[in-house]
């Protein structure tokens, strides 16, 4: 018996369902996922953004496409809170991206303590399905608290931080590193549920942004003044 199994190629075993795969396990669980709008990302995250999860988005640079990544989700939900965004969000831009302008709420706080308080209140209210929060750094305790609160009230939270050098564990559901280079927008999965970290893979966020000109190599482009 043992020998027959061993003799079969691994693909056949997979087809018969004799090999347990973490990835598949979460597909059929009862948890609610909202599609990210990017098939490649949905696959790696087990179906999309998990409702009631806290996701860390580490940014190599601000404004590199992190909002474009979330645009498909933001278009679907009613009620988004923008907590301490790094610049003023621009309503005509939302309009251009077909976001419901009157469903976007901006909160600005002076201290991180107030920001955490406001975040907690927003989660407890349960009336805002998505919260976008910008933090310089969050302690392990704060993340755990946010995670518990978000899970209880089924609010999806995105925490934007800069690239973290330390690898100390945090209670985030997903930790992604977003980076843009001349070749495009890349997502690196640092932590995810039921899966290993993944090396950077391209994500087609640019289709939500103004069209880019196809350039052969950036070095050959004639620089301004135009």
């Amino acid at each position: 018996m043992v020998s027959t199994i061993a003799a079969q190629p691994i693909q056949e075993l997979l087809a018969k369902g004799l090999v347990w795969q973490g990835q598949q396990q979460l597909e059929d669980s009862a948890q609610r996922y909202a599609s990210t709008g990017y098939p490649e990302l949905d696959k790696t995250l087990g179906g999309g953004w998990l409702a009631g999860s806290v996701n860390e988005l580490q940014l190599a640079q601000n404004y590199s496409g992190e909002l474009a990544l979330l645009l498909p989700l933001l278009r679907e939900v009613t009620g988004t809170v923008w907590l301490n965004p790094p610049q003023e969000p621009y309503a005509p831009g939302w309009h251009h991206q077909q976001l419901a302008i009157n469903q976007q709420y901006v909160i600005r706080t002076e201290t991180e303590r107030d920001a955490l308080w406001a975040l907690q209140q927003t989660l407890q209210a349960g009336c805002m399905p998505v919260v976008l929060a910008w933090f310089a750094n969050l302690s392990a305790t704060a993340v755990r608290l946010i995670q518990q609160c978000a899970q209880q009230h089924q609010v999806t939270v995105f925490v934007f931080t800069c690239e973290q050098s330390q690898t100390e564990a945090r209670a985030y559901t997903n930790r992604l590193l977003l980076e843009r280079s001349g070749k495009g927008f890349f997502v690196q999965v640092l932590k995810r549920r039921y899966g290993w970290p993944l090396p950077p893979f391209p994500c087609a966020v640019d289709r939500h942004l103004p069209k880019r000109r196809q350039t052969k190599a950036p070095a050959q482009v004639v620089h301004g003044p135009w």
Binding site: P85, Q87, R108, Q124, V205, P210, K211
Partner: protein, 479 residues
């Protein structure tokens, strides 16, 4: 008084006399331990006791006693000056509370209320039921008061002020009680009382037994008028209480305090009164003004705005507490006042009910809470305007405001806008798209002529750039 005269009448008046209105109210604001302390309100001019709590009475004190005697009898007596103005204000509040049950209320400041009850007979059926209702209210206010019926306002007033508790429809019972009253319990001038005693009249009975004409001959016209009023033969017009179209309450804190937790205790009660006020009129509000009055006649104002219609005490209190945490009181306060002038009709908003199904709060409630602690400018939404100029194409909408909807053509615009355009060296950017010329505002002083481009920076991020006479600027980011 001729009995035949009275039989045709009925007891259409009820008088409520609260001899310790101010003190009773102050006691309700105190902690139970403090209530056990002997306390008294004193008249500052005559230096005598006016109102006493039960502990002070047990110590052997009584109203009218001089302050020196009271102090020697009871050393730990807590003394506060009596303030008639406050008591008058309190009487108005009391009238307002009774206005729920009785339509015609006349104020007899500082401690009396006159109710016209005949018109209520059909509503309540019997006086007993009305009395029960009134007693409930008195208990709620924790007031000691006497209620007396009367066939004339003056008769009811005299009985109630004499401390007689008699609620009845029988005119004879009232007459009997009235006859027993000594002259000192009437409101006749002291000099008149003295002259009456001089001729051997000591009780109201004796006064009423005399023919009116001879009395007026001897004591003047005012005497005959007084008796006619007592008998109910003349009906002086009454100024009935009409509730004000706003809410105002001012409370003495009894001792100076600067910490909010102690003030919250008082505020809680005031907000409860406000809730009753709003609930009775089916109104709600989005604005409270709380003033903490200091010793030097100055005050600290706390302006609390909500993003949602509010009328419940619990709701308003939690928001007030958040405000208080944010703004500590610099100087101790002596009095606290609560004012609500902007009232709006209470109506259920179907839209809000849908949203509460999902969570515990509506967005407006959440915004109120956030605003309360973070400040009013900290929470906002953005709205489009019909402006061409990028800086003015959006405006902040405070949580309590309603956003006006403008239909604007969707143009290519970034998701981020820099509040101040940032001068840049253009050779660090690669051009992607453009130009879009924006030439607008020549009619006011902010004329703007710019060519907008989309360019890539060194990190391949899409930037919103413009060029004007001054050079190149970064104005926003896509992505």
């Amino acid at each position: 008084m001729a009995p035949g005269n009275l039989l045709r009448q009925s007891n259409k008046w009820l008088f409520l006399h609260a001899p310790q209105l101010l003190l009773d109210f102050q006691l309700t604001l105190q902690a139970p331990v403090q209530q056990q302390q002997p306390q008294a309100l004193v008249c500052q001019q005559r230096q005598c006791l006016l109102q006493l709590n039960s502990a002070a009475r047990q110590a052997g004190l009584h109203p009218g006693q001089s302050l020196a005697v009271a102090r020697s009898l009871c050393a730990e007596l807590e003394i506060r000056p009596y303030q008639e103005l406050q008591e008058r204000q309190l009487l108005r509040q009391l009238a307002h509370a009774f206005y729920q049950d009785i339509a015609q209320i006349a104020l007899f400041p500082p401690q009396g209320l006159l109710f016209e009850v005949r018109s209520l007979q059909r509503l309540y059926g019997s006086l007993g039921q009305l009395q029960q209702r009134l007693q409930q209210r008195l208990q709620h206010w924790q007031l000691t008061a006497s209620l007396a019926s009367g066939f004339s306002p003056l008769a009811a007033q005299l009985l109630a002020q004499a401390g007689v508790n008699i609620v009845t429809g029988e005119v004879e019972l009232v007459t009997a009680q009235l006859n027993q009253l000594p002259l000192s319990k009437t409101t006749l001038a002291a000099e008149v009382q003295k002259r009456l005693t001089g001729v051997g009249i000591h009780h109201v009975a004796a006064l009423l037994a005399l023919p009116a004409s001879s009395l007026s001959q001897r004591f003047g016209k005012s005497m005959s008028y007084y008796l006619a009023a007592l008998r109910g033969q003349v009906q002086a017009p009454q100024h009935y209480y009409r509730p004000p179209p706003y809410f105002y309450q001012r409370v003495d804190l009894l001792s100076e305090t600067s910490d909010w937790p102690r003030l919250v205790f008082v505020l809680k009660r005031m907000l409860k009164n406000l809730e009753d006020f709003l609930c009775a009129r089916q109104l709600c509000t989005r604005e409270l003004v709380i003033d903490a009055h200091h010793r030097n006649k100055e005050y600290t104002r706390l302006h609390i705005r909500f993003a949602h219609d509010s009328w419940q005490q619990v709701d308003m209190l939690s928001l007030c507490q958040l405000h208080m945490e944010r703004q500590p009181l610099q100087t101790p306060a002596l009095e606290l006042s609560l004012k609500v002038t902007r009232l709006r009709p209470l109506r259920a908003e179907p839209q809000d009910m849908l949203t509460t199904e999902h969570g515990r709060w509506t967005p407006a409630e959440l915004l109120s809470r956030l605003q309360a602690r973070l400040g009013e400018t900290a929470v906002y939404r953005l709205a489009l305007t019909s402006e061409q100029r990028p800086d003015r194409a959006q405006q902040c909408v405070r949580a309590s405001q309603k956003a006006t909807m403008v239909t604007v053509q969707a143009r290519v615009r970034p998701l981020w806008l820099l509040t101040e355009p940032e001068p840049v060296a253009i050779n660090e950017f690669t051009r992607q798209w453009g130009p879009e010329r924006i030439d607008s505002g020549w009619w006011d002083n902010h004329h703007l002529q710019r060519d907008y481009y989309i360019g890539l920076d060194a990190h391949a991020r899409q930037a919103w750039l413009f060029r004007d006479q001054r050079g190149w600027f970064l104005h926003g980011w896509f992505g």
